[in-house]
């Protein structure tokens, strides 16, 4: 049976005043039914843009290209916009980062949820109303009946995010994409929303793609993890293997930045430098200016996303094993960039 979602060599380019900019560069991703996939990476690494491309939500001046983009075996790229809209919002739904601005301030939450039902499932008005109350209850909104006529600005951020989730799961999607669903919320609310998403995923057996820059969240929820850097996928592993033995130096650095992994160190590890932007995209490996294991080869030659000796997919010439680079040629050591950590 075909995978639920198959993405091959997906890229998204934005036409800007200073030339075109690749926000997403050659993503390969397979999502099986009922699976939880985490996508992690720093801000600007193209996590949102790649999922928006899957949803078909990239608008001008963005341009989407892919060798293959399928949902349940259907080629999304070959579909007409109308055909694609029958899948979007129904079979693939998305929850966004900013709950308050993501809901329309001019319409009640009841209207906004019922509208989704009306477009995809039809049915009578009373039916939709009943379903909406049910959904609001399922996402943990107290007194759902009385919330139907509330406007988004009358609810808290956490409540708005619950409304967004109710709207997304309204038509029983087979894939739910949650784009940093908790970033804009209070810490206490964050855990509740994550629990809610995971519970919904398990109850309904839907696939969940969780975008986050929080490795801790990934550890708790995801089964498989995609690590993105500067629009590229740099590593993909099952979550346990990734945490036990990160293959890409960037993943290793992200994990080092976790407080629970910094036992015995006085300061948290940080990664020097920033994600390259449109102007300063380096040659070779995009991560090499910030990589403490970088060699001359990393400057000259762009690594591909291929399985290493242990079968892990990683975009690195010298994939790490137990924190040490492998298959290095002797005598080619470049000066190590300093780490900004105090031992």
């Amino acid at each position: 049976m075909a995978a639920l979602v198959e993405i091959r060599n997906l890229s998204v380019e934005f036409q800007t005043a200073r030339g075109s900019f690749r926000a997403v560069d050659g993503i390969d991703l397979t999502i099986e039914a009922g699976e939880v996939v985490g996508i992690v990476g720093e801000s600007g690494s193209g996590k949102s843009v790649s999922m928006l491309a899957l949803m078909g939500l990239i608008v001008w001046p963005g341009k989407v290209q892919a060798d293959r983009l399928t949902f349940d075996g259907h080629d999304l790229l070959a579909m007409t916009p109308a055909q694609r809209r029958r899948i979007i919002g129904k079979d693939i739904a998305m929850v966004f980062q900013e709950p308050i601005t993501s809901l329309n301030p001019c319409f009640t939450v009841g209207f906004q949820i019922m509208e989704t039902l009306a477009v995809h499932e039809g049915g009578s008005r009373a039916d939709r109303r009943r379903r909406t109350v049910e959904l609001l209850g399922q996402v943990g909104i107290p007194a759902p009946e009385s919330r139907l006529s509330s406007f988004p600005h009358q609810l808290s951020g956490g409540m708005n995010q619950r409304v967004m989730i109710a709207m997304a799961i309204a038509c029983n999607p087979r894939l739910l994409i949650a784009d940093e669903p908790t970033t804009a919320l209070d810490v206490t609310i964050q855990a509740q929303i994550l629990d809610l998403l995971v519970n919904l995923q398990q109850d309904r057996g839907m696939a969940l793609t969780l975008i986050t820059h929080d490795m801790g969240v990934v550890a708790e929820t995801a089964e498989r993890v995609i690590v993105m850097y500067a629009g590229q996928q740099v590593e993909e592993q099952p979550v346990d293997a990734l945490f036990a033995n990160p293959a890409h130096p960037y993943t290793a650095a992200l994990l080092d930045a976790l407080p629970e992994r910094s036992a015995g160190r006085r300061r948290l590890a940080t990664i020097p430098g920033v994600v390259p932007g449109i102007e300063d995209r380096p040659r070779g490996c995009l991560f090499h200016p910030r990589c403490r294991f970088a060699e001359q080869r990393c400057v000259d030659e762009q690594p591909l996303l291929v399985p290493d000796a242990r079968g892990r997919f990683v975009r690195c010439h010298y994939a790490l094993v137990d924190g040490e680079p492998t298959n290095k040629e002797p005598g080619s050591i470049r000066g190590e960039p300093q780490r900004e950590t105090t031992p």
Binding site: A82, K90, F96, L103, N104, E115, M167
Partner: protein, 336 residues
């Protein structure tokens, strides 16, 4: 809501003082004497002149005259026209429907054309559509009404003969005024062709008067639409799988309309100012034409009263726009 209303109404008081003071002073700054003008070329006997001046109160110091005027106004008395001797209020009320009819048609024209055109320009930003809409509306905005009106008359009335040059209805038809609105009265009269004639008389003046509001509405709609289309909730609407018509026509437009409604309200003042010129060009028997004639005759009471009433109308319209604004913007409605 009540506090909101009270503040708005309290703000009307300084406006009232300003308007009365300004019209009172401005009229008297124009050289010319109403009584001498009334007498015409034959001139007037000095005794009779003095008598009339006392009768109208023009012999008193200006401050006293203003005080008397205000006292009268507060009692609801706007005085009588020097020329027709009829109460100013009566004159105003007979002529006002003609101006309302014209302004309303102009506004409907401006909204019906301006909104869709602004939406298209916003949605198709950067395309030839956008550029032509913006170019044409800038031209429309800077077009002097007088010149624009004459241009249209020459083209459509004189050269093509499609529309009449002036007035509200052809002289072939006569019936008593019931509502004061020619479109309605002509229908009520039951006379064949009367309605058609009334419509054809309205077309050119409405276009001329509606041109500036149209340009303003189109530009405002475009920029408001551009802003709203980048909002997260528009992306959410698309993520729900809604068709573009619904995403733009409902989710985006509903939000984009909020500033546009304010602008439409502000255009009412512009419209009444424009009506003065338009009515003069098309000999449209409304308030505008009447005010211009009153200026020529230095009919002080008619001018003072007329301008005050127009100002009150504008203020009332703006007040209702403020209320409407709360109605279409839930975030304001629920704020106490």
């Amino acid at each position: 809501m009540i506090r909101f209303l009270v503040t708005k109404i309290a703000l009307l008081i300084p406006t009232f003082v300003g308007v009365t003071l300004l019209t009172f002073a401005m009229i008297r700054l124009i050289p010319g004497d109403p009584i001498l003008l009334l007498a015409g070329e034959r001139g007037i006997d000095p005794d009779r002149y003095a008598e009339l001046r006392t009768q109208y109160g023009f012999d008193k110091p200006l401050l006293i005259q203003y005080g008397n005027y205000i006292v009268d106004v507060l009692q609801g008395d706007l005085g009588r026209s020097i020329v027709t001797k009829k109460p100013v209020l009566t004159e105003f009320l007979t002529l006002f429907p003609a101006t309302i009819e014209l302004s309303l048609c102009a506004m409907i024209f401006a909204v019906l054309v301006g909104l869709p055109v602004g939406i298209i320009a916003g949605v198709r930003r950067g395309t030839i559509w956008d550029h032509s809409v913006m170019g044409v509306s800038l031209t429309g905005y800077s077009m002097p009404i007088f010149w624009w009106g004459l241009l249209l008359i020459i083209l459509f009335s004189v050269n093509l003969g499609w529309t009449p040059v002036s007035g509200r209805i052809s002289l072939l038809y006569y019936f008593d005024s019931v509502t004061g609105f020619m479109l309605i009265d002509s229908l009520l009269s039951g006379q064949e062709g009367a309605f058609r004639s009334a419509v054809s008389h309205l077309i050119l003046p409405s276009i001329v008067l509606g041109t500036i509001p149209l340009a303003v509405i189109a530009r405002m709609t475009r920029s408001s639409m551009l802003e709203v289309l980048n909002e997260d909730y528009v992306r959410t609407a698309r993520a729900k799988g809604l068709p573009p018509v619904r995403v733009i026509g409902l989710h985006a437009l509903r939000n984009a309309l909020i500033p546009v409604v304010t602008v439409i309200g502000l255009q009412v003042g512009v419209l009444l100012a424009g009506a003065i010129l338009t009515e003069t060009i098309f000999s449209w028997p409304g308030i505008g034409k009447w005010l211009i004639e009153s200026v020529h005759r230095r009919d002080y009471p008619a001018l003072q009263g007329g301008i005050l009433l127009v100002a009150i109308v504008v203020m009332l319209v703006n007040l209702s726009v403020d209320l409407l604004y709360g109605l279409i913007n839930p975030r304001i409605r629920h704020r106490r």
